[in-house]
């Protein structure tokens, strides 16, 4: 009854009492936890910027950072679903290595013989082959976990060893290079960026999508007479999101092609070399676009589809999910299959970036991926986690590493720092959650 009294004397009175900051967050419905992560990220960025004497917050470094984050960020989106259902996947690095090797061998050795050298469809076939291999491995892992009741920790620990070994067997340990020219675009670099105009177009489309989404959500709630956010909060969210999008694109467009490449390009296209130099913006890198697309699709899957709802319900209470008639085993198989596909996408990015498929590709990536998901707020106890959080987590991890490289810190010490930060981040999160209750 206490409940009733409180809610009938109404939110209005309560809101007036709360301080402006609380009121602001309630009105905008901004996830404070996510905001905390953004804050931590900014502190890391500014901290490194000062310590490196202004090397960190440059268009060039931020652009590189975005490209370096892409591969782990893609896998982290899948890891969220895996961890939400109280599973773990230790094999993602090895799946990345194996599917990368398959894609490498396909495009560098097999397809040129079958389809002719530099056939325009080479990259498509190679990528499709890699995705199939990733999906098959994931489905195999998922089936063993779901139908043979072997714990995911063990199945994927086995997978970690098996697929790393299998990677070696494909070429008896040889590195496969170079990759197909079109395939290489997925790795970023000067070629693998979409340029200034296209970037602005992407930005404009994104802003339009944000506006449409906000208006649509508001109309839906209006139709059913649900409580709505105040108008100023809607405007604020709209402006803020668009500003962030456009800001990011401005940064990507402020990073120009290196002088030698620009000069070669000018010579090849008969452009006279200007006195001040030729400034050709990179724009958004293709792997970053891929990662963002994966993030959007995965968020859609996790929040808008039945499958996603089941994933979270299983994480919250596996027994209840089973009793509600959800085919929990099939959901598990699907989650791991999806994880395998994401590993293959991440593999395409990192193979293309390295311009080679090697034995060691993706080693330790499983740990970075899990760390990214956990730093991003995915609880190992299951049931909670967001795709956006995990991608931010990946960015935090990569920022730490890049910053330390810029500072000239030795690799062993970098690992120590990353390890300590992981534990600290989860500890802080535990405190936050305890308070939130």
């Amino acid at each position: 009854m206490a409940d009733t009294l409180q809610s009938s004397t109404s939110g209005g009175a309560r809101q007036a009492e709360a301080n402006p900051v609380t009121r602001f967050f309630r009105a905008t419905e901004i996830d404070t936890r996510l905001l905390g992560m953004v804050g931590a990220l900014l502190i890391i960025w500014v901290g490194f910027h000062i310590m490196t004497g202004g090397l960190f917050l440059t268009p060039r470094n931020l652009w590189n950072l975005s490209v370096q984050t892409a591969s782990v960020a893609v896998m982290a989106t899948g890891m969220v679903l895996v961890i939400v259902t109280r599973n773990i996947d230790l094999s993602v690095g090895s799946i990345l290595g194996f599917s990368g090797m398959i894609m490498g061998v396909l495009q560098a050795q097999m397809l040129p013989q079958l389809m002719g050298f530099n056939h325009p469809a080479t990259w498509v076939v190679a990528l499709a082959g890699g995705l199939l291999v990733g999906a098959a491995i994931g489905a195999l892992h998922g089936s063993i976990i779901a139908f043979l009741n072997v714990p995911s920790f063990i199945v994927t620990l086995g997978g970690l060893l098996v697929w790393r070994g299998a990677t070696w067997f494909v070429t008896s340990g040889q590195t496969v290079a170079p990759m197909n020219a079109s395939f290489r675009l997925m790795g970023g670099g000067t070629e693998g960026s979409i340029g200034a105009t296209a970037s602005w177009v992407v930005g404009a489309l994104a802003c339009m999508a944000i506006v449409v989404a906000i208006i649509n959500a508001r109309q839906q709630r209006k139709r059913f007479h649900f409580p709505r956010r105040p108008l100023w909060a809607e405007y604020f969210l709209c402006v803020l999101s668009c500003a962030i999008v456009m800001g990011a694109i401005f940064v990507a467009n402020s990073y120009y092609w290196p002088v030698n490449i620009a000069r070669k390009y000018a010579e090849a296209n008969n452009i006279p070399w200007p006195e001040a130099g030729l400034f050709i913006p990179h724009g958004i890198a293709i792997p970053v676009l891929m990662a963002i697309a994966v993030g959007i699709v995965m968020t859609f899957i996790a929040t808008r589809l039945r499958f996603g709802r089941y994933v979270f319900a299983i994480g919250g209470n596996p027994e209840a999910a089973e009793l509600a008639g959800i085919k929990t085993r099939w959901v598990t198989v699907k989650i791991f299959t999806l994880m395998g596909v994401l590993c293959a996408i991440a593999s395409a990015i990192s193979t293309a970036r390295l311009n080679a498929a090697t034995n060691a590709q993706g080693e330790l990536d499983e740990l970075y991926t899990i760390a990214a998901a956990v730093i991003g707020g995915t609880s190992l106890a299951g049931g909670t986690g967001t795709i956006a959080g995990a991608m931010l987590g990946a960015l935090v991890m990569q920022s730490l590493q890049s910053g330390m490289v810029l500072l000239g810190i030795d690799t062993p010490f970098q690992r120590i720092v990353v390890g300590v930060v992981l534990v600290m981040a989860v500890w802080l999160d535990t405190i936050y959650r305890a308070r939130a209750k």
Partner: protein, 260 residues
Amino acid sequence: MTEHRTPLVEMRNISISFGGIHAVDNASIDLYPGEVVALLGHNGAGKSTLIKILSGAYKRDSGDILINGEAAEIRNPRDAKKYGIETIYQTLAVADNVDAAANLYLGRELQTRWGTLDDVAMEAKAREVMGRLNPNFKRFKEPVKALSGGQRQSVAIARAILFDARILIMDEPTAALGPQETAQVGELIKQLKKEGIGIFLISHDIHDVFDLADRVSVMKNGQVVGHARTEDVTKDEVLGMIILGKVPSKAIPGPGAMKI
């Protein structure tokens, strides 16, 4: 009277054992439309296990289930729901981390034309059903774990009645509730009964259910002690059935009745 009608549910000679222990041994119970049957017994008497067979959570080793006089195949919770059997479990079986609407529609989500979740429609329907059941309920956007025991109970009950159940199973429906909420559940049961829904109430506490029930079935050590109409027996006699397995003269003895 009731004997001439076809029972809504008839479970005949059901047995199930776990690792050599006969959790339910040759048990038979039935339920008629618009009737409330209380299934009583100590903790571990086998009543929850028997009822979980009906709701599809366990698979029986032997015996038959008849729905409206026809043999029914119930192998999992989905099958049970197809026959209109809805269960409210003792543990409530709600997913703590999602909101009330998501729990109401868990496993049977409404979808839009494009195959995406129609959250708005689900929330609208949830507000309607919950408004009927518990008008004070306002917290639709919060995960269920933020709710009180009674509120969680109303979510669990709402889920069961949302899909036009014909057979409702309530396992210790009032165990987690305060007096006022218990009274609410009592009112609800009477209302559902009027609509012709058959209800199994499972409890180890006779006082919870005696006044609501038309009949009692008592179980002990996995066997049915006996059945009785509540108007024919006293609470003390039923207690005797529960504790000793002693069947009063007006009750029908089952295989578990005390041998004299």
